[in-house]
Symmetry: C2
DNA sequence: ATGAAAGCGCTAACAT
DNA sequence: ATGTTAGCGCTTTCAT
C-alpha cells in the first residue's frame, strides 16, 4: 500500500502538504502542487478511507435504506436509487445499501460512523424508524412524508396533489363516476405515506366536485387486478374514469377492462400514477402523472449534504405533480 | 462518542481486553466477559468502523457493482441485490453500491480500502473491467461468465444449459419450428455474457435435433415486441414454440401472439426464461426456466467471503437451470 | 487470563 | 507557503 508518507517523500515535502494539496484547505505554491500531483500519479496513491474517517470524522459515504419487500414497485425503487447514487457520486460520496428489514441497520451504521448521512425510502405515516432517526448524530432525509415530520427533512412527490390532479383531470374530461385503484392491500395496510396521501387528495377532489368515486386496493397479479376492477364496476357500474396508482397491476387492469369490452380511451379513461417510462410501455401509451424517481433521489442527496455542510434546519419539499396527456 | 477506552474504564479492564471480548480472539474469564458486555450495553458502545479498518485492514464491507442501465431487467437485478445484501448481512458485512457507469469506481473503492471484496454483476464476454479486477488486492466474484475467467471467480445460472433446456422442452412437446426471443438489441450488441450463452445453447439443441429455429432480439416496448414476433413469423410462419428471454417484453409478446389469433398453449407454446414470479404474473402463468437471482447473489457472497478467509483459488460455479411446466 | 504499548494512515491544529 | 506533531479509536504483538 502506498501511503501519504510515500508520496511526501517522492515529492520532497511533508505529509501534511500532501494532505493539503488533496483537500485544498490551504494554499500551495504552484511548483509544489505540481510535484505532489506528479508523485500521486506516479505512485497511483489513494488515501486510505478508514484512516481518513478516523482523523476527520467524515466518511464520504451516505447510507441509503431501500425497501426490498413485498408490494413495492421495483422500477420506482431503482429510479430513486439511481438518482441517489448518481448525485452522491457527483458530490464525491459513495452509497452504502441498507434494507428495510435490517432493523438495526440505521443504528449500526450511524453509531459505527460508517456514514455521514442517511436517506430512508418508503416511509410510513407512523414509521417505527422515525424515533431512531431522530436520535442519530447524522442528518437524515426521508423520501416520503410521515405524520409528524418535525425536525426531519423530507422530500417526495406531492402525492396528495397528484391524487387531486388525477381526479380533476378525469372530471375535466367529463367523467362523473371515477375510481382510484391503489397499491396492493399490504401497502395500504401499513399506511405507506404515499398511498394514504393519494387517497386523501383523490377524496378531496371527489368532495369538491361532488363526483362518485370508489377507492380500491389492487393486487399486482392478473387475478387481483381482475377482482379490483370487477369490485369497482360491481359497486359503481357507471364508472368511466380510472386513476391507477400501481405500476405492476397496470397491464392487468388494462387487460381486464379490455375483457369487459371497455376500450381505452373510447369507453373509459385511464390515468396512471407511475414513472413515465412505465406508462409509455403499456399496450396503449397512457395519460400519466409521473413519479420522477431520479429527480427525487437527487434532491434527497442535495438536501442531506447541504445539512451536513451548513447545519441548516430540516425542511420538507414536495414536488408538484405533472400530468402528461396521452391516450 | 463512546470509545473502547470508555468501555474499558467502566468495566475496570484494559482496552485490549474489550477488543478481545469483541473479537473472541483470545479466551476471557467468564466474570470479565460479563462485566465488559455489561459496560458495552450500558454505554451502547459501537466500535468506530474507520478505526477498525485502519488497525485491522478489514472493513467488513463488500462492494457491489450493479447495472443501472438500459435494457437490463430491474426485477432480476433487484433479486440479485437482495440475495447479496441478505447474505452479506448474515456474515456481518455491509454492501457498498457501485454503478456500472462509474468507471473508476472499482479502483477507487478497492485502492482506497473501502471494501474487502467486490461482486460485479452483468458481465460481458470481453468486459473492460476484467483487467482492472485482476489488478486489485481484493478478491472478486463476477456474476456472469466472461470469455476468459482465468483467475477470477464466477457464478451464474448455466444460461447455455438453459438455452438447451428451453429448446429441448419445446422439441419434446412436438414443436419442429421454434424461436428464441432474446433481450433488447443493445444488450445483445454488447455481448452481455448471459445473452450470448443462451443463444449458444439454443443453437446447440437446434443442430442436435435438427429443428428450425430463429433467434431474434426484442425491444421491451409493445411495438418492439410486435416487430420481433412479426419478424419471426414472417421468416418462419410455421413457428409454434417460443423461448422468451426478456422479462419486460413478455407481456407484449403474449399480447401480439393473441392479436395474431394464436392462443397459448393451444396454438403455440411459450417458455419464459425469467424469475418465477414474473412468469406467474403474466396473463396466463407460463412454463418457465427460473433465474434464481437471490440464490445466485447469495452464492456470490459465500464465494467471495470464503476467498477472503482462506485464500482459496478462484472457481466458477454454474447453477443448473430448472424448468417448471405451467401453461 | 490480562495489560501495556506500538502502530495503522490520515487530518488539523500549532508552529515558523 | 510549508513543516512538526498530536491525536483519531482501534487491533495486535509482546510482556507478564
Amino acid at each position: 500500500m502506498t501511503t501519504i508518507e510515500d508520496v511526501a517523500k517522492a515529492a520532497g515535502v511533508s505529509a501534511s502538504t500532501v494532505s493539503y494539496v488533496l483537500s485544498g484547505k490551504r494554499s500551495i505554491s504552484a511548483p509544489t502542487r505540481k510535484r505532489v500531483e506528479q508523485a500521486i500519479a506516479d505512485l497511483s496513491y489513494r488515501p486510505h478511507a478508514g484512516a481518513r474517517a478516523l482523523a476527520s470524522s467524515r466518511t464520504n459515504v451516505i447510507g441509503l435504506m431501500v425497501p426490498l419487500r413485498a408490494g413495492v414497485d421495483v422500477s420506482v425503487v431503482m429510479q430513486f436509487v439511481t438518482g441517489v447514487v448518481t448525485h452522491a457520486r457527483q458530490a464525491d460520496h459513495d452509497v452504502l445499501l441498507l434494507t428495510q428489514d435490517d432493523a438495526g441497520g440505521l443504528e449500526r451504521v450511524a453509531a459505527g460512523s460508517m456514514v455521514d448521512a442517511i436517506i430512508v425510502m418508503d416511509v410510513e405515516a407512523d414509521d417505527p424508524r422515525i424515533p431512531i432517526l431522530r436520535g442519530l448524530r447524522q442528518p437524515t432525509v426521508l423520501i416520503g412524508l410521515p405524520r409528524d415530520p418535525a425536525g426531519l427533512s423530507c422530500v417526495d412527490l406531492d402525492f396528495e396533489a397528484a391524487g387531486r390532479l388525477g381526479a380533476a383531470h378525469l372530471a375535466g374530461a367529463g367523467h362523473r363516476e371515477i375510481a382510484l385503484l391503489g397499491p396492493p392491500p399490504e401497502v395500504m395496510a401499513r399506511h405507506t405515506s404515499y398511498a394514504d396521501r393519494v387517497i386523501r387528495g383523490f377524496r378531496h377532489t371527489r368532495a369538491e366536485r361532488s363526483l362518485a368515486a370508489e377507492v380500491e386496493a389492487c393486487e399486482t397479479t392478473p387475478d387481483g387486478a381482475r377482482r379490483a376492477v370487477d369490485a369497482v364496476l360491481g359497486r359503481a357500474p357507471g364508472t368511466t374514469g380510472f386513476l391507477v396508482h400501481n405500476e405492476r397491476a397496470l397491464p392487468h387492469v388494462l387487460g381486464r377492462l379490455a375483457e369487459r369490452g371497455l376500450r381505452v380511451p373510447e369507453d373509459v379513461s385511464v390515468v396512471a400514477l407511475c414513472p413515465t417510462a412505465v406508462a409509455m410501455a403499456q399496450s396503449v401509451p397512457l395519460t400519466s402523472i409521473d413519479i420522477p424517481g431520479e429527480v427525487i433521489g437527487g434532491v434527497a442527496v442535495d438536501m442531506v449534504l447541504s445539512r451536513l455542510e451548513s447545519k441548516q434546519p430540516a425542511e420538507s419539499r414536495l414536488l408538484a405533480p405533472v400530468l402528461t396527456a396521452r391516450d
